[in-house]
C-alpha cells in the first residue's frame, strides 16, 4: 500500500486532494474555446453555447446540454437572438440572456418553457454583461447595459425589475462587479478604478474596504463566496483583499506572487475553496437532493432517498410523485382515461398531493378533459376554481366555489361570469345559486344600484323593489322623491303588503303638507317626522294646523296629549296649557302636567294640576311640587306602607318632627294590616 498521504497537497495550513470519480463522457473537438459555458451547482447539468456570436442563418450557434458526467441531454441549433450569458436557476432551468434583454428559459432537457424581458430600457441600450445569482428569494438576474446602468430582478418567477441608481463616472461596462444579498435585499457591488460602490434600490454609496492598500489604483476582479458571506477583491497591484461582504471586516490582505491575469484569477477561486472548507456552509435556499434528482427524472431513486432520509411524506415522496404525474400527463400517446387512472392509483391519498398542479400541467399541454378528470381528485376548492375558470368550466367553478364557503372565491367566479355571459344567462345562473345571488346583490347594493333593481325585477320581488324605491327616494329632491315613493307604493301593493303601502302613502301626504306649509307660512319642516312636525307647529302657535294633522293621520289620543303637553311646556305657554288641560278629560291623567311644569321650574303652575291627579299618583304629585304635608296626607289616606316610607325619607327629623311622628304611626298601622 502506498503512503496514504502521498496525494494530499498543502494549501496554507490545510490539505486537499483530488480524486477522479469518473471521466467526462463528452467529446468536445475544440474544447471550450469560443463557448459560453454554464454549470449548475451540485453536480447539475452543463450548458454550452458554441460560437454565440454567429448570426447568419446558414451558420448559427449550437446549444448543447450535458449531464455532469458529459452525457448529452439535449442539442439544438440556436435560432433566437445573440446570447450574452447562460445561467442555471435553483431548479435546474437554463436561462439564456440575450443582448436585447430578452431571457429565454429552457428545462434541462432543452424544452422551451417561457421567456421574459428585462424591460425597454435594457432593450434599447443593449446588454453589455449579465450575471445570474441565487438568493433566498429564488434565482435573480442582474444586467449592466450599454448606458452603464444596472437593472436587476431578484426573483425571475415573480418579476419585479429595479433600475439601480447611476454610478458616478462610469462609462461602458465596469471593470468588475458582483451581486450581493444583504439585509434581505439584492445589491450590486461595482468597482470603477479605485472606487468601489454599493448600489441598492435607492442610492449609490461609495465604500472603503478596511485594510485595502492605498497602493492599489484599481480593482480588476472581485468574487463573492458561495454563501454570500465573503468577498474577494483583486487589485492591479497584485494584491488580494478578502473580507466579509458587508465590507466591515478584512480577513486577509496579501500580495500574490502572480502576474495580473488575463482571464479569471485562479488564485482567488482557490482561496475561496479553502474558506469554504473552513466554514463549511451550505446556503439553505438550495434545493434538497431528492428534488434535484426529480428534475433529472430519476424518480425511483428520489423516492428511495426520501425514504432513507425519513423525509415527511408530504415533503418528500408526495412531491416526487407529483413531479412524476406532471411528467406523465405530457405523454401524448396515452389516453386521458388511462393517465387519470394511473395517476390516481399511484398517488392515491398520498399526503399533500396537489392535483390541481398536475391538472394545470395537463391543461398547459392542451389536455383539457384530462385536467377536469384530475381536478375531481382535488380536495381544495380554492385550488380547483381558478383552473376551472381558466379551462372555461365556469358553472362547475361556481358550484365548487360555493362548496368551499370562501366568498371571495364565489365573488371571483361571479365577476368572471358577468363579463363572460350575456345578462339573461348570467341572471339565470345566479337564480339557481342562491348563495351567489345574495353575494352579488350585496355587491350591487354598494356598486351598481341599477343592476340591483334589475335583479329584484327578474325575481318579481316586489317587497324588495318597494324598499329599493324608498331608499332611492331619499337621494332626491321633493318632486322626484314623491314620484319614487309612489313607485314604492305600487310595488308594496303588488307584494300584498298593505301596511307598507298605506304608511308610504302617509309619508307622501305628509311631504305634501309640509310643502304647502312652506309655501303658505314660510316654515320649512320638510323631512321632519309627523311627531316633530306637529310639535313644531304647536310651538309656532299653529294649533289649527297641528289639529288638522292629528285628525288626518289619526294620531292616538294619548300620544297627541303627551306631544302637545310637552310642546306647550317647552314653550312655557302656561295659559294654553291650562286651556288644554280643561279641554276634556286627559287620557294620560294629570301627573304628566304636574311633572312638565316642575321640569320647567314652575311649581306655581304645577300645583294647579295636583288636585286633578288620581289617588294612586297623588303622593308622587305632591312630592314633585315639594308639598310634604299633602304627600303625607295622601299616603296616610291610602295606608300604603311603601308610600309612607318614601315620604318619610324626604322629611328632615329636625324641621318636620310632627309630620314624621304622624307618618311613623300610620306606618305602624299599615304594617299591622
Amino acid at each position: 500500500m502506498a503512503f496514504v498521504t502521498a496525494n494530499w497537497n498543502p494549501l496554507g495550513d490545510a490539505f486537499y486532494r483530488k480524486v477522479e470519480l469518473y471521466e467526462m463522457g463528452w467529446s468536445l473537438k475544440d474544447g471550450l474555446r469560443e463557448c459560453l459555458v454554464a454549470a449548475a451547482p451540485y453536480g447539475g447539468p452543463i450548458a454550452l453555447l458554441k460560437e454565440p456570436q454567429r448570426r447568419s442563418p446558414s451558420a448559427r450557434p449550437q446549444l448543447e446540454i450535458y449531464s455532469s458526467s458529459g452525457v448529452t441531454m439535449a442539442s439544438f441549433v440556436w435560432k433566437s437572438g445573440v446570447v450574452k450569458q447562460l445561467g442555471w436557476t435553483v431548479c435546474d432551468d437554463l436561462l439564456c440572456i440575450q443582448e436585447d434583454g430578452t431571457i429565454l428559459i429552457y428545462d434541462l432537457f432543452g424544452n422551451f418553457k417561457r421567456h421574459f424581458s428585462m424591460g425597454n430600457e435594457v432593450g434599447q441600450s443593449q446588454v453589455l454583461e449579465a450575471k445570474v445569482f441565487h438568493s433566498p428569494y429564488g434565482t435573480g438576474v442582474a444586467i449592466v447595459t450599454g448606458a452603464s446602468r444596472f437593472t436587476l430582478a431578484t426573483n425571475i418567477d415573480d418579476l419585479k425589475l429595479r433600475r439601480l441608481p447611476e454610478v458616478p463616472g462610469l462609462q461602458g461596462a465596469p471593470p468588475c462587479w458582483a451581486v450581493l444579498t444583504q439585509d434581505r435585499q439584492s445589491k450590486v457591488l461595482v468597482a470603477n478604478g479605485a472606487d468601489i460602490f454599493i448600489l441598492d434600490n435607492a442610492v449609490c454609496t461609495p465604500v472603503n474596504p478596511p485594510g485595502l492598500s492605498p497602493q492599489a489604483t484599481s480593482i480588476v476582479h472581485m468574487c463573492v463566496s458561495f454563501s454570500y458571506k465573503y468577498l474577494a477583491l483583486f487589485t492591479d497591484s497584485g494584491h488580494v483583499w478578502m473580507g466579509s461582504t458587508d465590507l466591515k471586516v478584512c480577513l486577509e490582505f496579501r500580495r500574490l506572487m502572480c502576474r495580473r491575469p488575463k482571464s479569471r484569477e485562479p488564485s482567488v477561486v482557490i482561496m475561496w475553496d479553502r474558506h469554504l472548507l473552513v466554514v463549511g456552509l451550505f446556503p439553505y435556499y438550495f434545493l434538497p437532493l431528492p428534488l434535484r434528482l426529480v428534475y433529472r427524472k430519476l424518480y425511483p431513486l428520489a423516492i428511495e432517498i426520501c425514504r432513507y432520509l425519513k423525509t415527511p411524506e408530504y415533503q418528500g415522496v408526495s412531491r416526487v410523485l407529483k413531479h412524476w404525474a406532471c411528467c406523465k400527463v405530457q405523454q401524448k400517446e396515452e389516453a386521458d382515461e388511462n393517465i387519470a387512472r394511473a395517476i390516481s392509483l399511484k398517488l392515491g391519498e398520498a399526503a399533500g398531493i396537489s392535483y390541481s398542479e398536475i391538472a394545470t400541467k395537463a391543461y398547459e399541454c392542451g389536455r383539457t378533459e384530462l385536467a377536469i378528470k384530475l381536478l375531481e381528485f382535488e380536495p381544495r376548492s380554492g385550488e380547483q376554481v381558478p383552473l376551472l375558470l381558466k379551462i372555461k368550466r365556469s358553472q362547475l367553478a361556481l358550484s365548487k366555489a360555493i362548496e368551499s364557503g370562501d366568498t371571495d372565491l364565489v365573488y371571483t367566479v361571479v365577476t368572471y361570469l358577468k363579463n363572460e355571459m350575456n345578462r339573461g344567462d348570467f341572471f339565470m345562473t345566479l337564480r339557481n345559486q342562491p348563495v351567489a345571488l345574495s353575494l352579488y346583490r350585496q355587491f350591487c347594493k354598494h356598486q351598481e344600484q341599477d343592476t340591483l333593481k334589475d335583479l329584484f325585477n327578474q325575481d318579481d320581488d316586489h317587497q324588495e323593489l318597494g324598499n329599493f324605491y324608498v331608499k332611492a327616494s331619499y337621494q332626491e329632491k321633493l318632486e322626484a322623491r314623491i314620484g319614487l315613493l309612489q313607485s314604492a307604493v305600487d310595488e308594496y301593493n303588488k307584494a300584498k303588503n298593505e301596511f307598507a303601502a298605506k304608511l308610504t302613502e302617509e309619508e307622501m301626504r305628509l311631504l305634501r303638507f309640509q310643502r304647502r306649509l312652506e309655501e303658505e307660512k314660510g316654515e320649512c319642516l320638510l323631512g321632519f317626522s309627523l311627531h316633530d312636525t306637529i310639535s313644531t307647529l304647536l310651538s309656532l302657535g299653529l294649533h289649527k294646523h297641528a289639529e288638522q294633522l292629528y285628525k288626518e293621520f289619526r294620531v292616538p289620543d294619548k300620544r297627541y296629549w303627551w306631544l302637545k303637553l310637552t310642546a306647550l311646556a317647552e314653550k312655557e305657554d302656561w295659559e294654553e296649557l291650562e286651556k288644554f288641560a280643561k279641554s276634556k278629560k286627559s287620557p294620560i291623567g294629570y301627573l304628566p302636567f304636574v311633572e312638565v311644569c316642575v321640569k320647567r321650574q314652575n311649581k306655581y303652575e304645577a300645583k294647579k294640576y295636583v288636585s286633578k291627579v288620581t289617588l294612586d299618583q297623588k303622593v308622587k304629585a305632591h312630592l314633585s311640587v315639594g308639598d310634604l304635608e299633602g304627600a303625607a296626607d295622601a299616603a296616610i289616606e291610602r295606608r300604603n306602607e311603601g308610600e309612607i316610607g318614601a315620604v318619610l325619607s324626604r322629611c328632615s327629623p329636625a324641621t318636620d318632627r310632627a309630620l314624621v311622628e304622624r307618618l311613623n304611626r300610620a306606618k305602624a298601622t299599615a304594617a299591622k294590616k
Binding site: D183, R184, G352, L439, Q475, E506, V598
Partner: protein, 627 residues
Amino acid sequence: MAAHLSYGRVNLNILREAARKELREFLDKCAGSKAIVWDEYLTGPFGLIAQYSLLKEHEVEKMFTLKGGRVPPADVKNIIFFVRPRLELMDIIAENVISEEKLPAPREAHILFVPRRSLLCEQRLKEQGVLNSFTNIDEYILDLIPYDGDLLSMESESAFRECYLENDQTSLFHTAKGLMTLQALYGTIPQIFGKGECARHVANMMLRMKREFAGSQNQILPVFDTLLLLDRNVDLLTPLATQLTYEGLIDEIYGITNGYVKLPPEKFAQKKPGEGGKDLPTEPKKLQLNSAEELYAEIRDKNFNAVGAALSKKAKIISAAFEERHNAKTVGEIKNFVSQLPHMQAARSSLANHTSVAELIKDITSAFEPFSLPLFHTSSYKNFKPISGDNLSSESFFDNLTVEQEFMTGVDTDKINTYIEDCIAQKDPLIKILRLVCMQSVCNNGLKQKVLDYYKREILQTYGYEHILTLNNLEKVGLLKPQTTTRNNYPTIRKTLKLWMEDANEQNPNDISYVYSGYAPLSVRLTQVLARPGWRSIEEVLKMLPGPHFEERQQLPSGLHKKRQQGENRTTLVFFLGGVTYAEIAALRFLSQMEDGGTEYIIATTKLINGTSWVKSLMDRPEAQIL
C-alpha cells in the same frame, strides 16, 4: 404587557404572540423606514396585538388614517396600507397611490389585507390601474383576537347583519379559518357540537378544511375537549335584555370598545385641598377594562347590586394595609412595607376609579336596588333631570326593567304595552323602543298582526317613515314577526330550560340567572345542559329553536388521546356566531368557577355586542338629501 392572557386555563398569549410574530415578519419585508395608513376600524383591534412601540422597533415612523386625496408628506421609504378587504377602501387607496406617483420621489407602496387578501379587491385595484404599483400585497390573518384570558373576538361589526339579513357568509368563512388557526396552535378539537344554520355551515367548512390538509397531521396534544358553535338567532332574547352585571352595565350605558370605555370626567376629578375652584376636566376619562386589573377581575361579573359591598370590603382591606405602616418598626419591616407600596397604590387608584364608575352607574340605575320601591326612589327625585335624548333617568331605567321582566316571564306579551306606548309618545330613544318591541315579539313567538301594525305605525309616525326599512330588517332576521300560529312555544322553552328563576340571588349567586336578576340567558342554559346531562334530555326544546343541532367528531392521531385525571375539568370553547354579551360571558365564567361544574369555558365570538349596538347594526338609515 399582556400577561393576563396567560392566566387562564388556556394560554391565549400563544395566539397573540403568533400574531405579533407574523406582524413583525411582514414589517421587515418592507425594508427601510415606513408610514402606516390605517383603515380606521382596524386600529382598535390591532392595539390588542401590538402597541406602537413594536411598530416603532420595525421602523414605523408615522401613522395616518386612510382617507381620500394623498398620503400626507412624511420622509419615509415605504407606505403601507393596513386595510380590510373592502371595495370602497380600494378606491380610496387607488386615489392615494395615483397622487403619490405624481410626486418627484414617490414612496414605495404596500398593502396588508386584514384578515385575508381578496381577489375581488385586487381586481378592483387592477381596474383602477394601480395593482402593479404595490411592491408587496400580503394578508395578515387576524381572525380571532384575544380580548382577555378566556375571551376571543373577531370584532367583525356586521357579522350578524351579514349572516342573517344579507345571506353573506363571509364572516363564517373567517370563523372557520380562525378555528383552524386555533387548532393549529392548540391541537385538534375532538368533539364539535352545534345549534343553528350558521353553526352547521361553520362545522362543515372546518371538516372540509381539515380534509384539505390531509396528511399533515396535527401533533399537538388537544387543549380543548369540545367546541360548541351557537347561532345568535337560536337565542334572540338575551341580547335584548338589559345586562345587570357590572361590566354589562358599563357596556349598556357607556359602551366598551376594544377593551376601553370612555366615561364622563366629573366624578374622576382629583380633589386636592386648596384647589377648590379648579376647573373640572372636560376630556372623557378613558379606562382600560380587563382582568389584568385585580379589582376589576373580581367585580366585573358580579350583579351590580353586589358591587357596592365588594367595593367597601376592598376599601377596608386597602386602608388596613396602609395602616400597617404604624406597625412597621424595624428597618426590615419598613423596607418590606415600602416594597409593597406600588402595588397598594395601584390598588387604591383602581378602587377610586371603580368607585366613581359605580357611582355613575348608580345615578342611572339606583331604582333597581332591592330596597327601593317601584314608584319611588329618593335619588330619582334628587337628580330629577329632564327626560331628554339618550339620558336614562333612574326611574325610566327601573320601569324599563320591569317591563322587560314582565315580558320574560310571559306577562301580557300579547297585548299593546302601555309603557312602550308612553315611551314612544315621549319620543324616547328609538333603539330603546325597538329593543322592547322586539323582546315582546320574541317572548310571544310573534305579535298579533294588529299589535304589530300598531307599534310599527307609532314608530314610523314618531321617528320618521324612513324607519320602515329598519322595521323590515328586524322582521327579516326574526326579531319582529307576525304571529303565524296561535301556539306560543316560548313558555315551554322557558319552563324546560328554567329561563326564569324567581329567587335569583344577586349577592351570592347559585345560578346563572343572577346576571339578569332572574333571567338565565338561553344560550348559556343550552351550554350548561350540554355539559350535563346532555342535549338528549331537551330534544323537544331544541326542535323548537331554529336550525339543526348536531355533533361531529374529529379523529385524533393515536397517542394524542387525553387520559383524564380524576376530577380534572373539561375545557369547552363556546363560539357565539353573531355576537355575545358581557352578561352571557359572566354567566359562562360563573359556570367555569362552580365547584362541581366539571367544565371550564373559553368564549369566542364574531363580535362583543349589547342590545343597542346589535339593533343599531340592523338599522338602515338613508341619509336624506337637502330638500
